[in-house]
Amino acid sequence: MGSLLALHDVDARYGQVQALRSLSLTVDEREIVAILGANGAGKTTTLRAISNTVTRTGSLEFAGRSLARRGPEATARLGITHVPEGRGTFAELTVWENLRLGAYVRRGSLKADFARVLEYFPWLDGRRSQQAGTLSGGEQQMLALARAVMRRPRLLLLDEPSLGLAPLIVGEVFRIVRELNEREGVSVLLVEQDARTSLATASRAYVLEVGRVAFEGPSEELASRETLRRSYLGY
């Protein structure tokens, strides 16, 4: 037991199409776990199954409580922050409004949290009133992380944070994810195409293939198995 998040035998479907087949997975407290695999393997769907934004069945537990019947809003209230593909940015609203929304389910003053956010993202200070949709892709990804910091989540679900970003910025994003994990004790479940970077960040990884877990294990082990790397991770 002891896992922060435990999925057991989870199936998920989009209409007639089955996207996950009896998937089981765990994330421990203060752990970074990566989900790898090709396009369509079910990586994004796994995160959606957790935040209940896809039809799914099976057992899903977070900190000893069942997620099965919780809607996305209620799941967010438990301390799970899902940063979806496209980063969930409110493009029409300002940077500051986005940050306030990050802390929506929390009570109390935002000042201390904003000060914390600025430690990670000092550039945000001068951009508070900028419309979020006019930020660059990298800045929007940073804003998505900053929003998560405002929330003080226990578990962060990150969907392809490197998508469409320059390598330098990808490095910066992953550095901040590691820092969040170390300093704030946030557990992270990370979905990535970029296997090399995510294996360097995560302590464990799952490799999905057509909705099933094909391999799982510590990152070093996955990275060191030549055949596995070649056929599933593509590097």
Partner: protein
């Protein structure tokens, strides 16, 4: 699926906004110069603004619901009429006008909230936006029928909230009624704007309206935000209804707001359907334009005023198809 990073820049290109503001400024200048030249013109402008203020309340109510669900609520006028009858009833029972006014706002808010919960949400869950539109037309018929059933179809007389006093400034005469109507309607829109801009709940409602999926993921109960939106829209509509019923040119009867709803719709479309400020500007423009046309152009008789409003709307849409402050939307396919 794999979405491109957002290159969604500003929704409209800058020059066209300048043109919109230039046209608005030009219109204002025309009104000011005209009012300095002629006191009759000033008088007609003020009473046009009062009419426009009434349209503005209902237009902003339409925009509130359209922004969140992309649905035009055809029952908005009927809801406003119903709540105006509630106000009339409270006054008939002996409450003073402003106490009745405040109580009616509360009743309207709860009623709008309940309508969304009871009549719209069950339909929306199963059907498309078109189903909701049709449900709103059903509500319109139902509510007007209910008004006739409860209060009868004869015309009622709503007392005026402002003393029937006329002020003379130079050669022009203003009624306190007109000035009060302008003041109350603008104030109610401003209060609503402050709520949306500066409260946590208002921010959550805006977020739920523009990005419902992302809003759920930060923990916002989107469906409650929609119900709240209906409540606020009904309250705003109630203000418009009560002001309209107090104006000497409108009679309190079950179909009171039908015509006003059409003007409000035209105003909302002129403003771009998603912009409350646009709806207010559109409503004031319609109010003033129609009043001036009615008094200066001899062949425009009252039955031609409604078509005139639509001509104004058509001209705006021909020049700027998304309305004055509408966003041209690019959809990812």
């Amino acid at each position: 699926m794999a979405a491109v990073s957002f290159t969604r820049g500003r929704a409209w290109s800058i020059p066209s906004v300048w043109i919109v503001w230039a046209v608005i400024a030009g219109g204002c200048l025309f009104l000011v110069i005209g009012s300095i030249e002629s006191s009759l013109f000033l008088q007609q402008t003020i009473s046009g603004l009062a009419n426009g203020g009434i349209y503005a309340g209902l237009a902003v109510a339409l925009v509130l619901i359209y922004r969140a669900t992309e649905v035009i609520n055809f029952a908005q006028g009927a809801i406003a009429t119903f709540t105006t009858y509630v106000a009339w009833q409270l006054i008939a029972w002996g409450l003073s006008y402003w106490v009745a006014f405040a109580c009616t706002l509360g009743v309207a808010f709860l009623g709008g909230f309940a309508l969304e919960l009871g009549a719209i949400r069950p339909v929306e869950r199963r059907g498309s936006q078109l189903t909701v539109v049709i449900a709103s037309i059903g509500l319109l018929i139902l509510i007007e029928g209910a008004i006739g059933r409860i209060w009868g179809n004869q015309v009622k007389f709503m007392p005026a909230p402002f003393p029937a006093r006329i002020y003379h400034v130079g050669g022009a005469a203003f009624s306190l009624q007109d000035l009060g109507t302008i003041g109350v309607s603008i104030a109610s829109v401003v209060v609503l704007w402050l709520f949306f801009q500066f409260t946590k709940l208002g921010l959550a409602m805006r977020a739920a309206a523009v990005r419902p999926h992302a809003a759920r993921l930060v923990g916002i109960r989107v469906s409650w935000m929609l119900s709240l939106g209906w409540g606020l829209a009904a309250a705003l509509g109630a203000v418009a209804g009560m002001l309209a019923a107090s104006s000497p040119s409108v009679l309190l009867q079950p179909s009171m707001m039908d015509g006003i709803l059409i003007y409000a719709f035209a105003a909302a479309v002129i403003g771009g359907l998603e912009s409350a400020a646009g709806a207010v500007i559109g409503a004031l423009a319609i109010g003033v334009t129609l009043n001036l046309l009615g008094s200066y152009v001899s062949w425009i008789t009252p039955p031609l005023l409604l078509p005139a409003a639509f001509v104004l709307m058509l001209i705006v849409l021909l020049v700027k198809p998304s309305g004055l402050f509408g966003r041209t939307r690019t959809r990812r396919v």
